[in-house]
Amino acid sequence: MFRPWFSLSDPIWQDFDRLNREMEKIFNENYFSPTGMAATRVPIPAVNIGETSDQVLIYLFAPGLDPQDIDLTVEKNMLTISAGRDTAKELGDDAKVTGYYRKERFSGKFRRVIALPDGLDTSSVEAKYKNGILNVSIKKKEEEKTKKIEVKVD
């Protein structure tokens, strides 16, 4: 069966992308695009993670998804997010395409596995999808929450 040898959804290319992203972090610029003219290439959606005193928040930058296609699972301390989109379908069936000038956006399936910190209550996972960002919030266990201790003056 014919299969293109180069496909961005192949795990090996996703690994390269991750490596590239780590490099960008180190050099604080787009490593393979010194001019910075090209679009910021994000084949697999980027993830930001932050915490507040009572919860951990995960942000996945994944525009154009159908919320019903987003699959979220938590197993032990691993959060897995899988979803995908087909950009060819966005135009609709009756559009008469005669050509294209640019095709830079990600199309296909992706999966991201995130190791969660300890001390989270994984039974209280909440997920919202808004403006193309998936926001997953997980509450910390009671004993892990930041507590304020008042200093008494004697």
Binding site: E22, K25, A39, T40, T87, L91, K103, R105, N131
Partner: protein, 135 residues
């Protein structure tokens, strides 16, 4: 995980003094686009996750189409970053349009962080079917 101490959470918008805001200019990201040519016009899709409709700015000056969008407030103020891959705060990109676009009839819609712009071709350049009469 990488050490992100002192690094800012991409989407954090804080109350800062104007001097501070000027010093830390928002990180502007070039959004990836798909541009298709249709029989009756050109369609542009741009990925701009985090941009609500009201923060979007689509402009045409002469023959240059500029799209801009600012990421809205989506993180709580008291958040501390643990791991950051994306630190953009705004998107911007400009395109030069051909002379055959009818600038007065451009349509833009925003859905799930994807901007879609339809640029119709002006009437005179649309392909016309000429019927051949057989005598």
């Amino acid at each position: 995980m990488a050490d992100v101490k002192g690094q800012e959470m991409a989407v954090k918008t804080e109350d800062r003094s104007p001097q501070e805001q000027q010093r830390r200019r928002p990180v502007v990201v070039t959004p990836p686009v798909d541009i298709y040519e249709l029989e009756d016009g050109v369609v542009l899709f741009a990925d701009m996750p985090g941009v609500p409709k009201e923060n979007l700015d689509v402009q045409i000056d002469k023959n240059v189409l500029t799209i801009k969008g600012e990421i809205g407030d989506i993180v709580p103020k008291e958040i501390t970053p643990i791991y950051v891959e994306f630190n953009g705060k705004a998107y911007e990109r400009a395109f030069t349009l051909g002379p055959d676009v009818d600038v007065s009839k451009i349509e833009a819609t925003m859905n799930a962080g994807v901007l879609k712009i339809f640029l119709p071709k002006s009437e005179e350049v649309k392909p016309k079917k000429i019927e051949v009469k057989v005598e």
